[in-house]
Symmetry: C2
Subunit: 215 residues, 2 copies
């Protein structure tokens, strides 16, 4: 279990002083803050017991740089794709480019996942892919979306149990707007097949940040 607690202003100041001047005695910290040693005792207790500071007899307080400070990452790492994902928007691979664009507007989505005849993930098309196509000479009413899609195995995917942090990293590094959330099956010829169970988007991530901020 991870919970986060907030340091008060004085605890923050103590931390700054120890970072700068440590090792430093409690008396010296008290002097710098113009308070009594006794008044500082609870704050110093919180800081040592929570792993921010080390207290050594006859030496004083030192800052533990490998301590538990700012472990917001542990909190963030609790979130999984299943906690934030949306419904997937899919089309069949015979769908025309024009119909794919219409689907994109109707569903108000950024990317569309393309399924093969058996209903497994075969490709993905983004707004960018579609926009590029409309600049060319292709007859978008006739050409199927499968001609322009990014195909498996070149698709970055996620699973429901992936950490949001890891998925965010994938989205940022591969410069995509969303990832299909998939379940993997092994086919009769030992090939991997992916059932699409959702999508995880930059909007889902932005919403998570908003949820965390408004708790």
């Amino acid at each position: 279990m991870v919970n986060l607690i907030e340091l008060n202003e004085r605890q923050g100041k103590i931390l700054d002083i120890v970072k700068k001047h440590g090792p430093i005695t409690g008396e010296n910290i008290a002097e710098m803050l113009d308070v009594t040693r006794a008044a500082l005792r609870p704050d110093l207790a919180v800081l040592t017991m929570s792993g921010y500071l080390d207290a050594k007899p006859r030496v004083g307080y030192t800052y533990k740089s490998d301590g538990m400070a700012n472990k917001i990452d542990k909190l963030l790492r609790q979130y999984r794709v299943k906690d934030i994902m949306s419904m997937a928007v899919v089309v069949k691979e015979k769908c025309s480019i024009y119909d794919a664009i219409v689907t994109l507007f109707v569903e108000d989505t950024g990317s569309i996942f393309v399924l093969d005849n058996e209903g497994y993930l075969n490709g993905i098309v983004s707004r960018k892919d579609l926009l590029k196509t409309t600049l060319g000479q292709a007859d978008i009413h006739k050409v199927p979306v499968s001609v322009i899609m990014t195909r498996m195995p070149n698709i970055i995917t996620a699973t429901v149990d992936d950490m949001v942090v890891e998925v965010t990293k994938k989205i940022v590094e591969h410069e995509v707007d969303s990832l299909p959330v998939v379940k993997c099956f092994i086919g009769t010829n030992n090939e991997e097949k992916y059932e699409v169970v959702g999508r995880v988007t930059k909007t889902n991530i932005a919403r998570l940040l908003l949820d965390l901020a408004c708790k």
Copy 2:
């Protein structure tokens, strides 16, 4: 100053027990955890001094629901647009739709800001706007981007000092991918003019979450 510290596993368990059974004495908590009262003392000290628990003589520990638990929002609220924003991609309003699309691909951006003759913000076009246009009959080589852009004052903007949390809210609620970051000037006729100084995108927000998770 806000810093966050992490509770250890036992402190988490104590919190759960007090939430469920409080008011409860230290002895009873120790029994439930099968440890001595003395062993619990440091943990109970952290929890009371950090504002999670209240300790009343002859009554026991109670949970402070209005305490400082989970104040991740305070940390998030420290971040401003200037901490995460990117460079703006701009075109003049006489720019053709075709050239705007080319700029979008060259700069690899989602939205383009359109400037008036004086260089102030006048409009915005998104990938979605451009894609919609290419479906129509317009000659994208001739029609200027100003014909299809969203115009001031219908543009949602941000400033460098806006909180990331507030800007994230705007982006999610208005279902846009990015906001122009602007500086406001008062023109000679008392009209407001906006200089574009950057853009803030869902990618910037995703990167912030990643930075926080990897600290």
